[in-house]
Symmetry: C2
Amino acid sequence: MGRRERPLSSVIPRAAATRISLYLRYLEKLESLGETTTSSQQLGAALGVTAAQVRKDLGYFGQFGFPGVGYKISHLIPEIRKILGTDRSWSAALVGMGNLGSALFQYRGFQEQGFCFRALFDRDARLVGSRMGDLTVEDVADMPQAIARQSIELGVIAVPADAAQQVADRLVEAGVRGIFNFAPTVLTVPEEVGFVSVDLAIQLEQLSFEVTQLGGLRGRPGRTDVTNGKLTS
Amino acid sequence: MGRRERPLSSVIPRAAATRISLYLRYLEKLESLGETTTSSQQLGAALGVTAAQVRKDLGYFGQFGFPGVGYKISHLIPEIRKILGTDRSWSAALVGMGNLGSALFQYRGFQEQGFCFRALFDRDARLVGSRMGDLTVEDVADMPQAIARQSIELGVIAVPADAAQQVADRLVEAGVRGIFNFAPTVLTVPEEVGFVSVDLAIQLEQLSFEVTQLGGLRGRPGRTDVTNGKLTS
DNA sequence: AAGTGTGAAGGCCTTCACAGCA
DNA sequence: TGCTGTGAAGGCCTTCACACTT
């Protein structure tokens, strides 16, 4: 059977959405190797999940496979890109140009994923006005207007923890559709705004915890985001 | 009732371990504000989880509370530090001194969490021998011996995806007890080695996904690691 | 014969609710 | 009375198993 409609109704486990990203990456690798077809078995083995999990995950979004054959790579890749929204590019603003912010600005990964920084902000007068690449650092006070004017869709927060919530609030007011937070703090964001947070301090403590509870591992959590691994003590 | 023995037997949900880190951070904040006591209610409200969840999480590790009173902050903080292993410092090696590696080396967060870089490695001959802070970049070929000699406990991987598994294998051979991976790829590591992975590319796609599936949010996932939030489509 | 799609079963985490202690 | 600790209930994700398709 071929392309049918998507469920467009059911609830999707967040973990499934994360794994979908991994499937895409592996599919791209297979394609670059000249493969044309794959299977839930192969995908699962490569990424450390069961074949049933792969089929279930893809099943949340539609019916992409061919019984007895598997998945056609050249078909599945654009489908997943569409699901993830990576079939387009996103304009973003980076707030906080300290150590972390500068590093993120230089990091190639953002561009490779279609994230394009259109504006930079900082509250430090010594940084405001300085050029970074083809952008000039602006004052956070001007952020709301600048974001609205340039129709910036995403905000990346790289400010100290104590300023992060305020920045998030202003980003939301300015109309961004999603926020990527790197500040080491819990933030509250409205339902309708996308939100992903990477808390390096917490992740560091998690590694320390894993090593400390030695012998205490069960399952293979590996990538914290992908499985629901548990620890025993 | 006071300090009893810890269960030392039950299984701990990974999500609980992550939340424990958040509790610690908030407790430290309360302490700095001069508070002496708190409750599961207060902790939960501040971090966006239920009071029952807080009690259950702490209950995995012991009985730290006082019925009718709550938790004594000055007692609970060191207990959690001990659980997480952050009551000591960790020696670490950083592998890959490109964009990402350099940024991580400069990032203050590592030191603040008690992670101390004792050695840096890269395979690029142009980087080998250069000084970074009080360290000199060494050749990856010398990594195993250097790590064993200095009794380095943790390895941080900041190399390209296609070299990451090999680096991980060598780190394990050299005897590290934990690995922090920043390479955008799935890695396989033995059971007995702690492993945490931060995959920025995947997280970026997750934000794109959230924004794309607009109106599709349910629950408040907020921080991907903390809850089991779901998405609807 | 091979492999997907999916209802049902299973397992784990979270929430509930309350006994018990300060 | 207030709040913890915890068994039990509930809900969600994962695994299983197989009908069905090519």
